[in-house]
Structures are given as C-alpha cells and as structure tokens.
Subunit: 332 residues, 2 copies
C-alpha cells in the first residue's frame, strides 16, 4: 500500500514526545511532508527531528492543500474548527483526545464524522494497550463480576511539562485534567466491560496550579450492571490500583502487572507480559489509522466512543456531588 502524505498540526509536547517516536517507526506508511504551528519557530525546531525536510506552512489552509491526512495535536478547544476544515478539503484526520472541550461540541464532531466520507480518528492510545484486552479475557477466571474500582493518584508537580501548558492552566475544556487525562481511564474501563449507564461524581480543588478540579471520586454503573468506582487525583501521590471483584476472586492491575487473586483457594496468578510502558500504543494507533484510511472499520478511533469517554467525565463533573447523570441524557 502507498505511503500517506501526513501533515503535523500543532508541534508541541504531544506531537514531539508521543506521536513522533511512533511515526518514525512507520516510515513505510506515513511520510511527514508538512508542519504547521501557530508559533512558526516551534515548527522549525520540530523539523530538526525529521530527515526529509518537511515543508513548514504559514497557514493551516495552505497545509491542507498539500496533504492526504493531518495529525492534530492542538489545544483541545481548537479540535472542532481544525477537524471541520480538514474534512471540507477532503483530508483525513487523526486528532488527539479528548475529542472536544465538552459533549456539546463533541456531538458536532461526531456529526462531522458522519457527514464527510474522510476519516476522523480520535487518537486514544489507551484503547491500544493490550493489558486491558488481557484483563477482559481474565475476568472469566473470577466468576460473575460485581464491582470495579480504579484508584489513580497521578501527582503532578508545579514544573510538570503538561501542567505548564498554557491551555491546560486556563482550561476551556470541562474539568481540566479530570477530562484531559480522565478520558484515557474511561476508554480503558469501557474496553473491559463496555458502555456505562450513569455516573455520580464529586470533585475537589486541591492545588492552585492545576487548572480546575484535581480530585474526583465517582460511582457509576456499566450497562451490564457492574458497579464502578473511579477515584483520581492529579494533586495526590500514591499507588495506582485497578481492582475488579468477582464471586471467586479479584483481578488486580498494579505496577504494570495483572494479578488474578482467588481468595478461597488462595491462588494468585501473575501476568507480567502486558507492560503498558513497554508498549508503543502511539505507533499502534497510527498503524490503525493507516488501515482505517485504507478501508478498515474505525473501531478504536471512533468519534462516538471518544464522545462517550468524555461524556463520563462531563457527567461526573455536572453531577456536582448531588445526583447521578445518565450518559444517554448527555449524548443524545
């Protein structure tokens, strides 16, 4: 199959540290022919990482006339406008998660992806981690499952590179880090147990340097009836543990190791072949994007799934500690 002429739009941290290492391994699939960044010097600096002298454009419109696909790694509030422009010019899009600043705008992106024949692929790298597929497979070992709990304590110091992005410090996207990072976790949970029916959430604001709330405790129910409890803070440190409880035991995912713990017969099985840190999920998402452009069904970069990821977080925030919100009521 032929190489796709790709333009990278937004040459910040995500493009450089996350996407580029994957793309450099996919030189037989993508040729990075074009760069655009609002601050042109950043695009020039980015071009130094490449050997093929991509063209640096002064405008996004001009870039669109010279590529087959764009990789949008922009402040999230620009996603809608940039996706629409690309589609109008017949250009395929891969766009960093979250899909949008809120569900209302996300719905418009879903609409765009239905209206235009070109691909809109939301880059949710957690959907490409095989650990969550393995966890899903292992649930058969613990009998009927009743409860999932995910505690994530992702402490970010004042000098964290993401915390210092201006668009993250004064977020236009709902809940700040709670949605920005949170959609990853929702995507993973949905990968294991499917869609979520409703969410109740309560947030706190601990730090003054992380834009928006930085502690969330939420309860939710999967469509299949499993009760969930997702607790996350970007201001507090600690052990990150995903725990799934069934009638015969637990599945525990901690420190990149999956454990199956059976209490009655005291058996603990370890699975350490699913290390998310060793797995290039960004490369996988670009490979998948390539195949989707070439006709494969868009399951892992689907805008509707990305919208539901964000809807979980928006429901948790709008719940405001008071009452649960149904995902269907938000997204329909």
């Amino acid at each position: 199959m032929k190489k796709i002429k790709l333009g990278i739009v937004g040459t910040g941290i995500a493009a450089r540290d996350l996407h580029l290492p994957g793309l450099l391994e996919l030189e037989n699939k993508f040729e990075i022919v074009a760069l655009f960044n609002r601050t042109k010097e950043k695009a020039i600096r980015f071009s130094n990482y490449l050997n093929n002298n991509p063209k640096i454009y002064d405008s996004y419109d001009e870039l669109l006339d010279n590529v087959e696909a764009v990789d949008l790694a922009l402040p999230v509030q620009l996603n809608y406008e940039f996706i629409e422009k690309a589609l109008k010019k017949g250009v395929n899009v891969i766009c960093e998660k979250p899909i949008s600043v809120n569900v209302e705008e996300g719905k418009k992106i879903v609409e765009l992806s239905r209206r235009y024949k070109n691909v809109v692929y939301i880059a949710e790298n957690y959907r490409h981690f095989s650990a969550y597929d393995k966890i899903k497979e292992l649930t058969s070992k613990i009998g009927e499952v009743y409860y999932l709990q995910w505690n994530l304590w992702i402490y970010m110091s004042k000098d964290n590179k993401y915390a210092n992005t201006p668009w993250r410090q004064n977020p236009e996207h709902i809940g700040g880090f709670i949605s920005d990072a949170g959609v990853h976790h929702v995507a993973s949970m949905k990968k294991i147990f499917g869609d979520i029916k409703w969410v109740y959430g309560s947030v706190k604001n601990i730090t003054d340097y992380l834009g928006g709330p930085d502690l969330l405790s939420s309860t939710f129910e999967f469509e299949n009836g499993i009760l969930g409890n997702y607790n996350v803070s970007y201001a507090l440190d600690g052990k990150n543990v995903l725990m799934i409880k069934g009638e015969l035991g637990d599945i525990i995912f901690e420190d990149d190791i999956i454990k199956v713990v059976k209490y009655k017969d005291k058996v603990i099985e370890y699975y350490d072949d699913y290390k998310t840190h060793d797995e290039n999920s960004y490369k996988k998402e670009f490979e998948d994007f390539y195949e989707v452009i070439n006709g494969k069904e868009n399951n892992l970069g689907n805008t509707e799934e990305a919208l539901k990821d964000l809807a979980f977080i928006e429901a948790a925030i709008k719940s405001n500690g008071e009452k649960r919100i149904y995902i269907d009521d938000l997204i329909r």
Copy 2:
C-alpha cells in the same frame, strides 16, 4: 465503688461470644444476677458459663424489678421497646448497636435517653479501639488531608453464625448487614474525622442468603470538607484497607497494622501496637458503661452518636444511587 447488679437480656451469640468474655474480667464491677431470653432453654444454657447461679426470669418485666442495669443483646427491632421499659423502671441500659432498625425509631430512643435520668449506653465497640485514636493522631504527619477510602470485603459464607440468625435473614432493620455491621465502620471514621455532612450510596444484592443488599459503594463528605469513599460487601472476599490521603502521603490501615507512607521522601513508618483483634473492646465498653453509671459523661455510648452512625447508612440506602442525602435532614 460498688458492684452493679446486671441482667443480660437476649442470651444469643452477641451476649455469649462478645459481651460475656469482657464481663467475666469485670467481676469487681458487674455481678450478672439475672438472665432473660424468649426461649428459656437458651438462658439456662447461658447460665452454665457463669459461676454465680444467676436467676433466670420468665419475663423481662420481672427481671427489671431485680437489677440496676440491663445488657440488651436482642434482635435490633426490639431495642426501642426494651430500652423504654427499662428506663420506666429506673434501670440503666447498655444496648448492642445498631441503635435501632431505622433513624425514625432511633430518634425516639435519643428522646428516651434525654427524658429519663438513667443511662442509655449504645454498645459500639469500635469506638473503643485505640487504633482509630492512633490513626487520628498520625494524620498530623501527612499534612492537609483530602480523602479517605475504606474498602471492606467481609465475605460471609452460608454457614456464618451471624448470617444464620433469623432476624438477620429477614431483616426489619434498614439495609440488613449494610447497617448491622456498617455502623461499626461509620463510628470508626467519625472517630477519626468527626461528623459527616452528606452521603451518596449505591447498593447491589449479590447473594440470596444474606438478608437485603450486600454490596455498597458510597461517597460522602465530612463536615471538615474531607471527601470519603466507603465500599463494603458481605458477599465478596478481599483485602480490607483503610486509606487516608494527605498532601504529604497516606495513612494505610491494613491487616491490623497502621502505615504512614510518605511518597516524596519514600519513608514508610509502621505501627503495629494497635491490633484490634488483641484489644478487648467489649470489656472496655462495659468498663466505660460502669463509669458512666457512676457519673462520667457518656461520650462513647452516646445515643446521638449512635443515631448518626445509623443515619449514614440510612442515607446511603435511601440515596438509592440517585442523589446524595444530608445527615441533618435525616436526623432533625
């Protein structure tokens, strides 16, 4: 000080396995002079554990005429009636938790305890565990505290002695085990961080042999602003972990060991002198009851505190997965 003539009313599992071992160590404070049980043979059998030949009565009224205090260890739905009768006859009362079947009836018991001069002491043994005092003291080591989580997986098999009590199999008390055992946990959390403002809860019913729901996930807020998350099941097994998160680290209470974990300087301090299983909290509560009868303020057996313990659980159940309920709205 003189010995108090005590009657034990309800000679079931709690009286035998929990209260009696403590009372036998307090022979200088209490003399068990009287027993009453609806099924008289059980009272006769119980008398075999004692050396002083207590009198076995055919009626509760008759017993009340011959004692200074009663220990009520009855199916919870009988608490109100039995407490009232004792007070009318000028008899002091120690009564097993929960205070009552629901908040409405609990409020009537609080009223009784205000109206009569004799003592009404609700026996909540968890309030007598020193581990929770130690945890409270250690919170100063982790800076400002933001979050508490308690996971309790207290699997009860079909042949569990408590699960087989008829009044527990067809509970008149709200939420079955969720309140019966749950008030212990609420009392402990309140001992650490004080009163609770509101509770949101969602329950599931996993087994058919435990009366009522047997899985609860709840979110709540202490009056001091700390967010809490209490998850408990009597149908699922697992590790019981109390985790308190502050700006500098965590306090973890697990397997009867208190750990202070500081993430930045990687310090872990262990405190293993507060083993709840080695501590005779029942003896302590009877000692305290004795002192309260002799004029000490009733802090640990206070009916108002016991009512608030139950109100947490009732709020969680009535919340019904839909919306949070304020404790004050329930108890006022």
